[in-house]
Symmetry: C2
Subunit: 193 residues, 2 copies
């Protein structure tokens, strides 16, 4: 029987995520990945395929973790307003913890590659669909409970919130002032009531 992988796949993926996040896809070389993962070049290709495949796996992993964070944050909260606030709170924390101004990996990825690589475009579209589903579900619930107004449909508000989150992530790259960011969030949410 064959020798088995000796490295921790999750840990390697985490290291790879850091590099791609910091330098972007085109800014990251295989040498960068070799250096930071500590893995040999052959092992990377053997275990993850080419650079783009590894990047896609990194994206999926990043998305899965973000999704998990959202779902975990939303459990034990049943008020629609607080749920929306929680989503922005998690985003805010992510921004404030992002000391080296990397921004959001998926937003960066969309900006850099959505118009080149069709696999990336599909991934980002699927990510958007998931976000929209989550957001409009909450809005819909809030509207049923008469907490949110019905001047726009849940889908329309969902897209508005998704847009606002992306904007917040872009602003958050260079502006880490918590009060400023909280004011933006406050203004974003206000229109729902």
């Amino acid at each position: 029987m064959p020798k088995t992988e000796t490295f921790d796949r999750a840990q390697i993926l985490h290291k790879a995520t850091e590099v791609f996040h910091k330098k972007g896809y085109n800014g990251t070389s295989m040498q960068d990945l070799v250096d930071t993962t500590g893995l040999n070049r052959s092992s990377i290709y053997n275990s993850f395929g080419c650079k783009l495949q590894l990047y896609l796996e990194v994206l999926s992993d990043y998305q899965k973790k973000a999704n998990h964070k959202f779902r975990k944050g939303l459990t034990s909260i049943y008020n629609a307003t607080e749920q929306i606030q929680m989503i922005f709170e998690l985003t805010l924390i992510d921004i404030l913890e992002d000391d080296d101004r990397k921004g959001c990996l998926i937003v960066n990825c969309k900006s850099e590659m959505a118009n080149h690589e069709s696999l990336i475009k599909s991934f980002v579209e699927k990510n958007q669909d998931q976000m929209l589903a989550m957001l409009s579900d909450i809005v819909n619930k809030g509207q049923m409970e008469k907490i949110f107004n019905t001047e726009k449909t849940a889908g329309q508000y969902g897209l508005y919130l998704y847009t606002s989150i992306q904007g917040l992530r872009m602003t958050g790259i260079l502006n880490k002032n918590e009060n400023d960011l909280r004011n933006i969030i406050d203004t974003i949410i206000k229109v729902l009531h």
Copy 2:
């Protein structure tokens, strides 16, 4: 006396802008620039300096043109609401005309390079300051005229609008549905009244 430049500098800059916009900074090679500008490699270095210098000149040019568009659009409009609407209208047009999903050059640039190159970071910060000044001036005027509410300061609303514009540009990369985008804009602006 020396031989003078034979090419049209503005036209070369326009071509270079197209490439950088479509492929990003790291995705664009000097060969790409040679191919699309039609200029010789030496001439590029001789007239524009290195790749980064050329990129910075492209950014300045792009910003100048966008500024010009805004100022032109805002002349003969004296109502604050309509001024804000005009700014979003111009952004919307830009999004709808962007057939190959490139997004906004400056947003892309911020996402790709603001955390690496300090010259880029400075440029983007200056661009942000200009946008914030323009937006909060309009908001301030609207508040003086009692058209906009004063629940937030003009500066806070300015930052909110700047954030929203960036979000709109991100959403606009993959979503070109005019109705959807107009609904987002409508929702963004509503909070001011």
